[in-house]
Amino acid sequence: MDLLELWAIFGPGVAGAVFGAGWWIWLDAVVCSLVTVPFLHYLPGIFASFAALMFNCVRKEDIDYSPYDEGEWRLKLWLFIAYVVSFVSLAGSAGLLIQDSLDKSAPSVWTGVAGVLQCVFVLISGLVYWTSHPE
């Protein structure tokens, strides 16, 4: 049994574990925060989860890599939108981290760091789930 076989077997479980870890890190930041975390800070994690769901809705067999035909442009557009959403969520969480570190009355820096970690872990879980499906 080679490594790809093991990855196909255990990949979805690892993806779930990483996803859960991301959201639990964020919950830890919210619970331990001395200041009430506004709803704006929840959005990067929600959008990252949504992006991970988006690009795992696509079946890999349907993607056409031919350079000649028009191909499935709707599929590629969907993947591109998923990429944009994930990029915006990461950029948003990084921006909120910088803002929190500058403003004294905002939540602590750990909240910002946890937000960035949450986005990273959620997107990594999406990639793990994607790569664990062989074509």
Binding site: P12, A15, G16, G20, D28, V31
Partner: protein, 113 residues
């Protein structure tokens, strides 16, 4: 072994007279649910790559639930709601729970032959 796991749960609460760690027991209920719902009551699907989308979703949920069991004691400790000793007892309890699941899985595989 399962009784030992639950006993450690109760001990972690009773020794410190603090019942917040019982939240971790909720996750113990969640962990086997994907097996029951999607896997036909068997843990065999965890070790195979067949089955398609629903089986992969069940694996995903199993992983997420397992991480929750680890995360709850750590978050409670970070929020200073439980002592360090209680957190360690909780983690040992979860480890014993995992050993129980693996033994059950191995016994189920032996039954198939």
């Amino acid at each position: 072994m399962f009784s030992a796991s639950i006993l450690l749960q109760i001990l972690a609460c009773a020794i410190y007279n603090n019942w917040w760690p019982m939240l971790s027991a909720l996750m113990y209920v969640l962990v086997p649910m994907p097996c029951l719902f999607f896997g036909g009551g068997s843990t065999q699907f965890l070790m195979t790559r067949d089955g398609g989308g629903w089986i992969d979703a069940a694996k995903f949920l199993t992983g997420a639930s397992a991480v929750g069991s680890l995360a709850i004691p750590i978050i409670l400790k970070h929020a200073h709601m439980i002592e360090t000793g209680a957190m360690l007892i909780e983690l040992v309890s979860f480890f014993i729970f995992i050993c129980t699941v693996l033994c059950f899985h191995q016994a189920s595989l032996d039954d198939d032959w």
